[in-house]
Symmetry: C2
Subunit: 217 residues, 2 copies
């Protein structure tokens, strides 16, 4: 997608708008609070002060031509639902909305949100999974009991080859790739030697991941 | 780690406590609000009503024996900082705290938090990265311009072998693994044939990931 409209510049909306701008998207950011608009103006293509539940405003800002809409205002449930409905109505193909509660999220899904995000709940989930693998900053869930995790290579791995380490047999985990500084070594060969500072991306059952980090974290 | 103490049962704290309990951890959950405690009691090992800034309370609940402490109360900055400091003081080796603002987070880091979490900001970040790969529900950042993403196999991939698809050369992306129902095929062979419903885990530059999904999303 090229164009993204973000309604609401709280922490979630601001982070979304800024990151998307950094990735090269054309971002239109709307907030009812002039100071939020001013703060965003330096980072996004177009920052406008106004009410995200105002259809005329959205059309005048060409939100109908956006590829993606993000309703990042979550406290006012009615406004959040209205903005979501409006964006779908004026033809935005993919609308993401932030929800504060399950009920709020269900409501958003029913009126057309293509994806609902629960930042606090998702963060708790991720933290729970990453706690068993304490230096993990990222985790992808594959199933309720397994996933992909990125973590720092244990100290005593350094200097050893993948053949020596035989991760698959010793730990029932697969090493998918090594990140070494800026370099990414996908599907490393058995001759690859681990270096200080390497980050390993492993896949496997949570239990095995936990065993791995507890003995090597 | 085996034992985790969670102070504050908002959405982030509740999700952390519940998910950790589900993963087999012994969770002690503390909240000043009796109703939150009652709601958590069915899911965690020990739920106690009380103030997370009360050292005697923490010691009486054996929080000093926890492997990890989570300060999931973020609105009251002073209490959040106090709880964090206390947990470190009584000997909890790894303390994670949630922050509402950068300043709050910096404060927490300075007084000893081992990790600070910004749920809203992180969610905005993830959304930004996943928007360019619209069906992605998970993403691991490897660098500011590349990462690992899990996404549904494009329709026209179905029935083709990895050799036919030659993803590496056509898309400058590496296929790390295929998730097929409950099965995980790590480092798939070139003879592997894509099936309907397969989820692909790819790694590469954001730009290439975006090209891939825009032409195949
Ligand atoms: N009707 C509206 N139209 C446009 N912007 C709005 C509207 N109502 C509120 N906002 C703006 O939305 C932003 C986010 O509001 P919200 O109350 O959802 O905060 P929040 O949920 O705490 O956000 P976050 O958690 O992402 O920091 C605020 O900057 C606010 O000014
Ligand atoms: N001093 C305290 N000791 C223990 N629990 C507390 C204390 N102060 C607040 N709490 C509890 O912490 C929980 C989370 O509070 P907070 O105000 O941080 O909510 P929040 O930041 O909106 O949470 P979330 O965003 O995770 O839903 C509440 O359930 C509240 O009762």
């Amino acid at each position: 997608p090229e164009r993204v409209a973000v309604i609401g510049l709280g922490r979630f909306g601001t982070s979304t708008a800024n990151e998307l701008s950094g990735l090269g998207y054309e971002v239109t950011a709307i907030d009812i609070d002039e100071r939020k608009v001013a703060a965003a103006a330096e980072r996004v293509a177009l920052a406008a002060q106004g009410d995200g539940t105002d259809e005329d405003l959205l059309r005048s800002l060409h939100v109908d031509r956006s590829d993606v809409g993000v309703v990042a205002q979550g406290t006012n449930l009615e406004a959040s639902v209205l903005s979501t409905l409006l964006m779908k109505r004026i033809g935005v193909p993919w609308v993401v909305a932030k929800a504060k509660t399950d009920l709020h999220g269900e409501l958003l899904a029913r009126i057309g949100a293509d994806r609902v995000i629960y930042p606090e709940r998702d963060a708790g989930n991720r933290l729970a999974h990453s706690l068993s693998v304490r230096h993990i900053s990222d985790y992808i869930t594959l199933s309720p009991t397994s996933g992909i995790a990125k973590l720092h290579a244990p100290a005593h791995f350094v200097g050893q080859t993948l053949e020596d380490l035989d991760i698959e047999n010793h730990y029932q985990l697969n090493l998918l790739l090594i990140k070494r500084g800026q370099k990414i070594i996908a599907v490393p060969s058995y001759r690859e030697r681990i270096e200080e500072g390497d980050e390993l991306v492993l896949v496997g059952p949570d239990r095995e991941m936990a065993v791995f980090t507890e003995s090597h974290g």
